[in-house]
């Protein structure tokens, strides 16, 4: 049956008597929904989130299409067949929106249990849509079916929109609470977008339908305004794409924004009462916006290219870094194995050199005695170096063992100073020991490692001090419960720009070689790592080149 009072539309939809707002509200909303939906879908269709957004956009676009059809078509059977799907599509949009937010917040598919609940909510709409509960008749004079629309059915599927809004708000709020400040904005923007869309779409459509059912036909046009909610939602989606890469769509999403803008401007043509002036101005705006859009897109493409290059460099750097770490580990393992292999023969060399030196094989001539002493000294230095390499290997492999115990630090420091005093005297140096401790000075640390550290620091002071004094001072800070050992020398000092490097692996001050050429540059690295592992630290200060230096070992007091 046809509505004989109304003209057949031209171009499928166009009827000059209908308000321009009808076309302005419907056509851009439909095009933008289709465009964003397809764009997101075809850029990453493997993502469930994208497929769901596509489904929501398509349901909406289809709703708008049949709504436009219902407004402009004059065939009652076509309009009624279309009318069947208003409720179905709205109910589907509600349920898909909930599904979409679930996937957005959890990044995974929902359980069968939730799917069953959502299906149950949809079931009444799907089963009753083609019955009189939805629509059962048609008014040929007004060319609509409002007189026969089931209020209960209409209220049910509109109520689904309300349920979706509440459900989504709860889901997003819970998700928002678990997020960090940086990622919260994404949730907030999506939340505002989808809630406003559902509110405007469901709210206005329900009010419009109820107004028409109550014979307030002029008020029924309120539903047109509800469609702008989708445009807003799609703009929100575009923002999420561009700013947060939410849908794994490339940064070329700027295209979406530009094309969306052009669609909005072009939709001004849908005003039926456009004058030549407005048509001219709209065309001008459209052309200028298109030109600006082209420039914008070109600059975005350039930026994308640069970003890709930076990303490529970063990836290469990461790979190189990983490879370097692997090589470093292999090197440490090699050093460890090699050092173990060297240590055994060295022990023999030292042992036999010592026996020869002490006359175990008879008295040696003077020159032979000197040669043996050199062998003994060199093998001692070499043993010390090997010990350093082994310690570095253990530290880097995380195999260094620490056995914490309580002992008096002052006593240990004094023993080492006493041991080293003869060496200091040989070099013409004054080695002093001072203590300002008030407490018993008991620390909690590994005794062997602490001795090794003190030995290393005092040894360094002796090596790099040509003349003057070396002072070992013990002091404490009762408040922080830390005991300090200051080893101050009047030696070659360290330049300010080298201070930070002295604790690095294989690092030596530049002026160190002038005084001592045998150092490996590992002693301070090992000592520093050990002190740190025991809850202490080693720091260094120096007045500069030739002005001496002070190394401070700090260890925690007993608990």
């Amino acid at each position: 049956m046809i509505c004989h009072w109304f003209p057949e539309p031209t171009f499928l939809f166009y009827t000059p008597d209908l308000p321009g707002l009808l076309f302005y509200a419907h056509i851009p909303a439909m095009i933008i929904a289709c465009f964003v939906g397809f764009y997101v879908f075809f850029n990453a269709r493997y993502l469930l989130l994208n497929r769901l957004l596509f489904a929501i956009a398509m349901c909406f676009a289809l709703w708008v299409f049949i709504n436009l059809l219902a407004w402009t078509n004059i065939h009652s059977d076509v309009i009624l067949f279309s009318w069947t799907f208003f409720g179905v599509l709205q109910a589907l949009i509600s349920v898909l929106s909930i599904y979409f937010i679930y996937v957005f917040t959890t990044q995974q598919d929902i359980s069968l249990h939730i799917k069953s609940i959502l299906s149950l909510l949809l079931l009444p709409v799907l089963l009753l849509a083609s019955t009189n509960f939805n629509v059962g008749g048609f008014n040929l004079d007004s060319c609509d079916a409002f007189d026969y629309e089931g209020v209960l059915f209409l209220t049910y599927y509109s109520f689904l929109g309300l349920i979706a809004m509440i459900w989504i708000a709860v889901l997003l709020y819970n998700h928002w609470r678990q997020q960090t400040t940086k990622t919260r904005n994404q949730t907030l923007i999506l939340g505002v977008g989808i809630e406003l869309f559902l509110f405007s779409f469901f709210g206005m459509v329900y009010l419009g339908s109820m107004a028409a059912i109550a014979d307030f036909y002029d008020s029924s046009q309120i539903e047109f305004y509800g469609l702008f909610g989708m445009t807003f939602f799609m703009v929100v989606i575009a923002v999420l794409i561009v700013r947060y890469k939410t849908f794994n769509v490339g940064a070329q999403a700027a295209e979406v924004l530009v094309i969306g803008l052009l669609i909005l401007i072009a939709s001004q043509y849908t005003y039926a009462n456009s004058t030549p002036t407005t048509v001219f101005l709209t065309t001008l705006t459209l052309i200028l916006s298109a030109i600006a859009g082209i420039f914008l897109l070109r600059s975005v493409y350039k930026e994308i290219e640069q970003r890709s290059e930076v990303q490529l460099l970063s990836d290469n750097l990461q790979r190189a870094n990983k490879r370097l770490r692997s090589l470093d580990k292999m090197k440490s393992e090699f050093v460890s194995i090699a050092s173990h292999q060297l240590r055994s023969p060295l022990t023999s060399i030292r042992g036999y050199a010592s026996m020869l030196s002490e006359g175990a094989f008879g008295k040696l001539p003077q020159k032979a005695q000197e040669a043996i002493n050199r062998i003994a000294d060199s093998s001692t230095t070499m043993t010390s170096s090997i010990e350093d390499y082994l310690n570095v290997s253990r530290i880097e492999a995380g195999n260094m063992k620490y056995e914490l115990s309580e002992f008096k630090l002052a006593e240990e420091a004094l023993h080492i100073v006493d041991d080293k005093r003869s060496e200091a005297i040989k070099k013409g140096l004054l080695l002093l020991f001072k203590s300002k401790l008030v407490s018993s000075g008991v620390v909690q640390a590994d005794l062997g490692k602490t001795r090794q550290i003190l030995h290393n620091l005092i040894n360094n002071a002796l090596k790099y001090t040509p003349k003057g004094t070396i002072t070992v001072l013990l002091r404490e800070d009762i408040d922080t419960r830390i005991i300090y050992v200051d080893i101050t020398d009047t030696g070659i000092g360290i330049k300010a720009d080298e201070l930070e490097q002295v604790f690095g692996k294989f690092q030596r001050a530049k002026n160190a070689n002038a005084v001592n050429v045998t150092g490996t540059g590992l002693g301070l690295f090992v000592a520093h790592k050990m002190a740190k592992q025991m809850g202490g630290d080693i720091t260094v200060t120096s007045g500069g080149d030739g002005l001496g230096s002070t190394f401070v070992l700090s260890l925690p007091m007993q608990t």
Binding site: M1, I2, H4, H75, S76, D77, V78, L80, F81, T84, F85, V88, L92, Y99, D109, S111, L112, K115, S116, L118, S119, L122, L123, L126, L127, A129, S130, V135, G136, G137, F138, N139, L140, D141, D147, Y148
Partner: protein
Amino acid sequence: MEYVNKYFFSLVIGTLLLLLIASGYFRFIVLNDYLVTYEVPCDSTMEACFIGCDDEACLDTYHYSMIERKAYAVRAQCGTSILDCSAANVCDVNEKSCHLTLCDPDIEVCVTDEFN
């Protein structure tokens, strides 16, 4: 189970949607199984009629009553348009679901003077 969970929603909703499209098409397009309502000429000397306006200022009026019939019945008599089809204006003898609504003076303004 994973397979069921993955395709459950699409299968259930898709199947029901296809059924709905089929049933809707069959009911509205093929069978024309729905009611249509429209104005029919009314003789104010015989019955209470509604008053309709031919212009916005309602200077030209006409009298009508409303008829409600099954679309397939009207279509069988008049084709797709009821314009110039007098058979559409009355209920057939024994026609079910045909209902003529006259103006109720207790509720609305009617033209009743002529026959009272």
